[in-house]
Symmetry: C2
Subunit: 180 residues, 2 copies
C-alpha cells in the first residue's frame, strides 16, 4: 500500500470555511511528536528513507507508532512505501533503536486537525517553527497511484487551493532547511 500526499502552505481559517460548506466530516484533532532516526549503516538522506517514532495524543488517549518510509516511487505525488505498526512504549522502542546504533536526528511537533472529504483525508497542520499547511492524503495500490493523485489535486482545488503550489519537501526537510 502506498500513501499519496499533496501538501500546500495555506492559512487555515479560509480552508475551514470551505470544508464546512462542502460538508466535510470533522475527524478530530491530534498532537504528534515525531522523532526521526539516523541509521548506523546507511545515510537515510542519501537513500531517501526514514524511520520514525510517532507519539500521538488525541481525544482517545495517546498512542505510539513506528514507521518505515521507503524511497519515493512516484515523485509527483510524493508516494512512498510505508510500513507501520503500533508499539506499547515509545521510550522502550527508542532505547532498543539506540542500542542497535540508531540515533534521534530530528523532532517534528505538529497539531493536526483532520477532516474527511470525499473519502480523502484533509489535514490542517500547524507545525512548530514552520507555520500552517494543508495536506490531502489517500492510500493507493501501485496501479491506482495516478488516479488517486488526480483526486487529491481535485480536493485541493475544491478547497480554493492550488495543487501547483505543492510542497514536496517533508516537514522534517523544511525544518532542517530552515535551521541551516
Amino acid at each position: 500500500m502506498y500513501e499519496v500526499e499533496l501538501k500546500v502552505r495555506a492559512g487555515h481559517e479560509a480552508v475551514r470555511q470551505r470544508l464546512s460548506s462542502l460538508g466535510a466530516e470533522d475527524a478530530g484533532t491530534v498532537r504528534q511528536i515525531d522523532t526521526y532516526y539516523d541509521a548506523p549503516h546507511r545515510d537515510f538522506a542519501e537513500t531517501d528513507e526514514a524511520l520514525r517514532i510517532r507519539r500521538e495524543e488525541g481525544e482517545d488517549g495517546s498512542t505510539t507508532r513506528v514507521t518505515y518510509k521507503g524511497p519515493l516511487v512516484e515523485a509527483e505525488s510524493k508516494s512512498r512505501r510505508e510500513i507501520e505498526t503500533g508499539v506499547d512504549d515509545a521510550d522502550d522502542l527508542d532505547s532498543i533503536l539506540d542500542a542497535l546504533g540508531f540515533s534521534p536526528a530530528a523532532v517534528v511537533e505538529k497539531e493536526r486537525e483532520r477532516y474527511v472529504l470525499d473519502d480523502y483525508t484533509v489535514t490542517l497542520d500547524s507545525i512548530a517553527d514552520l507555520g500552517e499547511f494543508v495536506e490531502v492524503e489517500h492510500e493507493a495500490l501501485e496501479s491506482d497511484l495516478e488516479s488517486t493523485r488526480e483526486g487529491a489535486a481535485d480536493r485541493l482545488r475544491d478547497l480554493g487551493l492550488d495543487p501547483d503550489e505543492q510542497i514536496r519537501t517533508s516537514y522534517l526537510g523544511l525544518l532542517l532547511d530552515s535551521s541551516q
Copy 2:
C-alpha cells in the same frame, strides 16, 4: 533492569511434583515462536547481542513483543540488559526490520509452562527439536545480581535439580549447535 536466568536440562514430570508439593502457583502455559534477526551492520554472534520478535499465544489471546538483548554483563547467571516493548503486528515489524536490512536468522518454538515459586518464575520449557528444560528467572538491579543468582540456584535445588548443571547456551545457540 537485568534478567537473571538459570537453566538446566530436566524431565518435567518429577519437577511438576516438586512444584506442587512446594506450593508453587501455576501461572499458565504459553506457546512462543521467537524469530531472531541478523543485523546489517554488526555480527550479533560476535557482539553477543540479539534482536528478537516473539509471537506468544496463551489463554488470554496472542501478543507480540520485540526485544533487544545486550551482551552478557555477568557470565555466571547469564545476566544481560534486556529492553522490550509490545507491538501490534508482528508481520509489519518484520517488514520494517527487513526494509532496514535486518534478516531472520533462526526460529525457536517453545511451549512454556510457568509457575511462581518464592517470587521466582520457574518455567518448564519444551523446545522443538531440543527437548525439556527447567529455567528459574528473576529480574534484578545491577547491585542485586549476585544475591538474585544465589536465590535462583536455591530454587533449583528445592526442585531437586543441580545448579552446577546449568546450561549457559541459549536455546537459539543449542539449536544452532545441533544443526551443525
